[in-house]
């Protein structure tokens, strides 16, 4: 036997590493998952692109005004300066205030800012976390830019790069993926997926479709149902929910494997999907029943008694 890592254990560990609980005032813990660093980086790039496009559009508008014969020397440059200032400093703050902790980039990636202690996301936290972008991003950028244009010493360029590196890479150095702004604002960025509710697989999709068809129903013994655990049940659920090309082949393959594993007597099931659905329903009924008796069997590797349910 090789020392392969059990899939259920890696899944559990993966969940534990990035999972954060927030207890609602109702006393029910909500499980959140921290947004991955790459998601955050992507969201940030989207936001920066939006800012850059806005600046370019503004610049073009001003040029058109100038060619339109308008005198733009005074007020227009003043307004432009103010707009640029507002965009640079308050773009993130504005959207996070209006959209409950989301910016257009975060919205696209389905991530959002929450308070680290589970309280309300307060305006001052949003201000504080976004003010820090000044040292995280704009200052090193302008140092590098000025070093390039004014021919400053290599040392100051190096300093700027090291500085930028420390601040930009801060999310890599802590387990909560926090950047400096998150530390100062006491915030987390978490995944906020929108999961759609699908049909219950225990309903038996094919039974509904082939109403009247003489499909047999399969039944299983208790011993056969005690082979698998929750992880296998939920994997089976995912297999059954699969659609598209190849789904049928996978289901056939899984059906064969289950037959072998549980020692299915008799001929190969003629309706593999139907067989899987019945097995799923029976297994779920069995495991849920055990769970209500306080015995939660995480996977087939768990000892038969399983562990007491998590509080």
């Amino acid at each position: 036997m090789s020392v392969a890592v059990e899939p259920s254990q890696t899944a559990a560990k993966g969940r534990a590493k990035d999972a954060r609980d927030v207890v609602t005032p109702e006393g029910v813990p909500l499980h959140f998952e921290l947004a991955s660093r790459s998601d955050r980086a992507t969201a940030f790039i989207i936001d920066v692109v939006i800012m850059a496009v806005t600046v370019i559009i503004l610049a073009i508008a001003f040029i058109f005004l100038a060619f339109g014969g308008l005198d733009i020397s005074g007020w227009a440059i003043g307004v432009g300066l103010l707009l640029f200032f507002a965009l640079r400093n308050f773009y993130f703050t504005f959207f996070e205030l209006r959209w409950h902790g989301m910016t257009p980039g975060k919205r696209a990636l389905r991530i959002r800012v929450i308070d680290r202690n589970g309280g309300r996301l307060r305006p001052e936290a949003i201000f504080a976390r976004n003010l820090m972008r000044e040292v995280e991003l704009f200052l090193p950028l302008s140092l590098v830019a000025s070093a390039g244009s004014m021919g400053q010493s290599n040392w100051s360029v190096l300093f700027a790069l090291v500085w930028a590196g420390i601040f930009a890479l801060m999310p890599l150095f802590n387990k909560d993926h926090m950047r400096v702004g998150d530390i100062v604002g006491s915030t987390w960025v978490i995944k906020a997926p929108k999961t759609a509710l699908q049909a219950d697989m225990a309903e038996g999709k094919t039974r509904a479709l082939s109403a009247g068809a003489p499909a047999p129903s399969y039944s299983f013994t208790r011993e056969q149902l005690e082979i698998y655990g929750i992880y296998e049940l939920q994997t089976l659920e995912a297999v059954l929910r699969q659609t598209g090309t190849g789904a049928h082949d996978t289901q056939l393959e899984v059906c064969n494997r289950i037959c072998r594993k549980i020692g299915w007597q008799g001929e190969q099931p003629a309706y593999p999907v139907r067989f899987l659905e019945d097995f799923y329903a029976a297994l779920r009924a069995h495991l849920e029943n055990r769970m209500q008796f306080g015995e939660r069997r995480e996977s087939k590797h768990d000892a038969k008694g399983g562990q007491p349910p998590q509080p």
């Binding site: 680290r116 504080a128 849920e288």
Partner: protein, 337 residues
């Protein structure tokens, strides 16, 4: 399965309708804001949310349907963001900020702000003494953009003109000048706050450097016998502007202090707690700088009398001190006693 009794299946059938309703309300509220909901729906939303949270907690103990669990998890989270999310009127938030939070934060950071003021004053003294001794120092302390043509080689007349703005060169437009000043100073102010994270040491440099520039300018004008006029020109906006920059420096020190000396709390908690309040000072200071830019933009052109300039500067200073000393006191009582 008709013949297998699945509690979780029954459970879902009973509750699904209320989940769907919550989902649909949230969908509308998220895409079009609160105004998309009728008062009756607004009233219903928290109830639906609580029902969903309770469903979630039941589902965790009886159901192994992964899709259902994930769905309830995400629905409850969306409801939670909505019901306990940052809300309330923007105007009320602004009013609370300026009447309570900002002055309270400034009072809490009084010693740090004093330290920032001291560093800036020290910079000014050094700048003055060096420049008055040898005018060449002027060029080291003040960049071309900032000098705006006011250098030791300028004639006394043109230096005087700059104080009373007869119009010339770069500073043609009131709006342009005011917005340039505001954005420039605010950027420095926010930088001063943010640099606090680097243990506050860069803040010292920034404050000192700012002081050097002021001292150096003063030395230039005083050496030409324009000291009184210069200070009048400076005071009209400078009392507000320098105070704001000092506040930002103080906020930076405060943040740096929380990082370096977290005390009994953990470093993260200490930073988080101080960071948010120090950030308020920086944001408030940006508002002050806006006032200062308007004062300078207008004061430079419209108010030509030096005595009047001193009076406005002094009045502004007294007003700020009264504001920071008195505003939002009542709620602070318990802590003071």
């Amino acid at each position: 399965m008709a013949d297998v009794k699945l509690k979780s299946y029954e459970f879902r059938r009973e509750r699904e309708e209320s989940w769907r309703e919550l989902e649909q309300l949230l969908q509308r509220a998220e895409s079009r804001g609160l105004k998309a909901l009728t008062p009756a729906e607004l009233f219903r939303l928290p109830n639906l949310y609580r029902a969903t949270v309770s469903s979630l907690s039941v589902a965790r103990s009886i159901s192994l349907d992964r899709n259902l669990l994930l769905y309830l998890e995400s629905l409850a989270a969306r409801g939670y963001f909505f019901v306990y999310g940052a809300r309330g009127s923007f105007a009320v938030g602004i009013a609370r900020f300026f009447t309570l939070q900002f002055p309270q934060a400034v009072r809490s950071a009084a010693w740090h702000i004093l330290a920032a003021a001291f560093v800036m004053a020290a910079g000014a003294a050094v700048g003055y003494l060096l420049t008055i001794g040898n005018m060449d120092w002027f060029y080291s302390f003040i960049g071309d953009a900032m000098a705006g043509g006011r250098t030791p080689v300028s004639s006394t007349e043109s230096l005087r003109a700059a104080l009373y703005d007869d119009g010339g060169g770069f500073v043609e437009s009131l709006y342009l000048f005011a917005s340039f000043l505001f954005t420039h100073n605010s950027q420095i102010g926010m930088l001063a706050f943010a640099l606090g994270f680097a243990l506050g040491l860069p803040v010292v440099v920034l404050m000192f450097y700012n002081g050097l520039a002021i001292g150096s300018f003063s030395a230039l004008y005083i050496s030409r016998g324009l000291g009184v006029e210069f200070l009048g020109w400076l005071s009209i906006h400078g009392t507000t502007e320098l105070l704001a920059v000092t506040l930002c420096g103080g906020a930076g020190f405060w943040l740096g202090g929380a990082f370096a000396f977290p005390g009994r709390q953990g470093r993260l908690d200490s930073l988080a707690q101080t960071g948010r309040r120090a950030g308020m000072i920086a944001i408030g200071a940006v508002a002050m700088l806006f006032v200062a830019a308007i004062l300078e933009g207008f004061g430079r052109q419209l108010i030509q009398d030096t005595g009047l300039r001193y009076m406005i500067g002094a009045a502004a200073l007294i007003m700020w001190f009264a504001y920071f000393g008195l505003a939002g006191r009542e709620r602070n009582h318990e802590r003071r006693r």
